[in-house]
Symmetry: C2
Subunit: 367 residues, 2 copies
């Protein structure tokens, strides 16, 4: 393959270079190469000549110039807290992966802004919304409604797993309540009745939904809800460990629950550790279930039965919805077509859930 004579040129070729090379105007080159939205058409021969010239000159559009002319950066911002330990990292990665997929497909760049925490850094959001991005994706924001008011009106926003409805922001979420419901029905179907719920922080939307699913599943199977079996913890491994340790200490000598349904994989992993500390074996002595299907769920021993949200697909949708809003806004139509989009979830059965010991003794083994 012969080396182009232009390959060593210090300056990248511009549209007028291409135009000159092809014997046409820069504008004609713009139409052919960058699909500039003019009504005029170029004849096939001219078109070919321009394409050939561009290839020869290795023409590549200068995105800064295009952005300046279009008042459009073709860049979406991603605002996220990054320091939340494993759980958040695994969650972020899946969503981010989905975002990148869609961004690549739709020819958008991405810019990541990291926050220390949502509460403290809400004031930084407006500063991210000028010049360099066309719209902003909020990853699991926990904003007060007051803080949400400072979001600039010119910039379209979308969120995933927002803790409260944010004005003028489309929120993407999954049916967490249904996931919890399905999981607890799954436990019940295995023969479990006394099911402990290691719950999340009170007031957090996700935690409340999961607790509601737990209660609804018990009710649907006519298992009375025993509030002493609902223990407050949190989403982290640490909070799960503390909560489970505390429960085991306070209830020493009492009958063990058949199963533990944890608000998150993190809490489930902490619970696994606390159970291991007192010599209990999962799932033969007690079953444990998590929620989220983080990467860590597959690295525990035994692997964790959990609920999967289609985070990657949700990440894809974030970009699609945001771009739609950007285009709408540029066209002067700034209305919100939808407030939230809910994705279905899947149960992921793994080794951490088995039959309860009592049932095991009664039920005959499968042939």
């Amino acid at each position: 393959m012969p080396r182009s004579k232009q390959a060593k040129s210090a300056r990248a070729a511009t549209l007028s270079d291409v135009g000159r090379e092809a014997g046409v105007s820069a504008m004609a080159a713009s139409v052919v190469l960058n699909g500039a939205s003019t009504s005029s058409r170029i004849s096939p021969e001219t078109r070919d000549r321009i394409l050939a010239a561009a290839a020869r000159l290795q023409y590549r559009v200068n995105v800064a110039a295009r952005a300046l002319a279009n008042r459009r950066m073709n860049t979406v911002g991603i605002a996220t807290v990054f320091e939340g330990g494993e759980l958040l990292n695994a969650y972020f990665l899946e969503v981010f992966n989905g975002i990148l997929e869609a961004a690549t497909r739709l020819e958008q760049n991405t810019t990541v802004f990291t926050l220390h925490d949502w509460h403290r850094d809400a004031a930084r959001l407006p500063g991210m919304c000028d010049g360099r991005i066309d719209g902003l994706i909020l990853i699991a924001p926990t904003l007060t409604r007051a803080a949400a008011k400072v979001l600039p009106v010119h910039t379209p926003f979308v969120a995933i797993h927002a803790n409260v409805p944010l004005p003028n922001v489309v929120n993407i979420e999954s049916d967490e309540e249904q996931g919890a419901y399905d999981m607890v029905r799954h436990l019940i179907a295995q023969g479990h009745r006394r099911i402990l719920h290691v719950a999340g922080v009170k007031g957090m939307v996700g935690a409340e939904r999961r607790k509601r699913g737990y209660k609804r599943a018990l009710a649907s199977a006519h298992v009375p809800v025993d509030n002493s079996l609902i223990i407050p913890a949190g989403f982290t491994e640490d909070s799960g460990r503390q909560a489970m340790r505390g429960w085991l200490r306070e209830h020493a000598g009492e009958p063990l629950p058949h199963a533990v349904f944890c608000v998150s994989d993190g809490a489930a992993i902490g619970s696994l550790e606390a159970l291991a500390e007192v010599g209990l074996h999962v799932p033969t002595d007690i079953s444990v279930a998590g929620f989220d299907d983080t990467l860590a769920a597959r690295t525990t021993v035994p692997q964790l039965t959990t609920v999967r949200q289609p985070l990657r697909a949700m990440g894809n949708r974030l970009v699609e919805v945001l771009l739609d809003r950007i285009q709408r806004q540029n066209a002067g139509d700034s209305g919100l077509t939808e407030k939230s989009i809910v994705f279905p979830v899947d149960l992921v059965p793994r080794a951490s859930v088995g039959a309860p010991p009592a049932v095991r003794r009664i039920v005959p083994a499968p042939r």
Copy 2:
């Protein structure tokens, strides 16, 4: 707080808006607000007037216009393969976090390009290097030297954990050999002598370095290297599991090694599983050590003794080095000041390494 009368303006304020408001030229505003590099100075009063006007108008620089004028995007690209499972994800996240830290500090944007695999997508690299980024970071590239030749000369590159020296690319790595050496010395210090090495793929730079450290440590303690104790595997959990299963099968009835030093945490986790399958208990029957300190290293039972690379600091350095190169190149100085930068590593002792059983019987228990 009274709302600014400009807050609802459809168009963002420009430098000439600010200039008009302050009664000066756009250029004066540029000097004060964006630190334009002109030799002239502005009087303190004018300066204050400009600053006040900018605040009133909520002026924010248009980065596209600046980029066009400066021929500089203030954006660094990050090229990475993303689909490598847990190990790569955890690795990427740490490095990425470090990159974002430094990018934020140095006022650079970041753009992530994902590749399916390095071999197939090497041809896409030049296309990433035009217009939108000033330089490119390669995350753990595995390029042939031939492929590296197609890297455009105008764009500065830096790499982390490159598999081969790439022409005109600064590579950031860590002292993996020393890490392996330290780990094996640690095992020896605990009393282990027969130490199995679950090794990585032959020819991979990292794998070879770790193996070299293993051998050097044995030699330094006058433990003869037994090549039958070095088994080829890979970095993944699966390859570790297969390798350890195979070894146990082939050596049934023979004395167990005292300890296993695995090329990676993934391989170590696979080894843990294979050992558990045959009823061996870690660390009382046999010790296991990994390498990398991935997130998974903390979720195994027992937690994994491993070696940590300072990935976040390395990510920081990637940006610093790249920016330095970009600035140098713009100043006409395109020479490489260094070929590679080596970071030290740390031993992370956890529960998967204990004293060998034989020693345990002889040595008195600690009081």
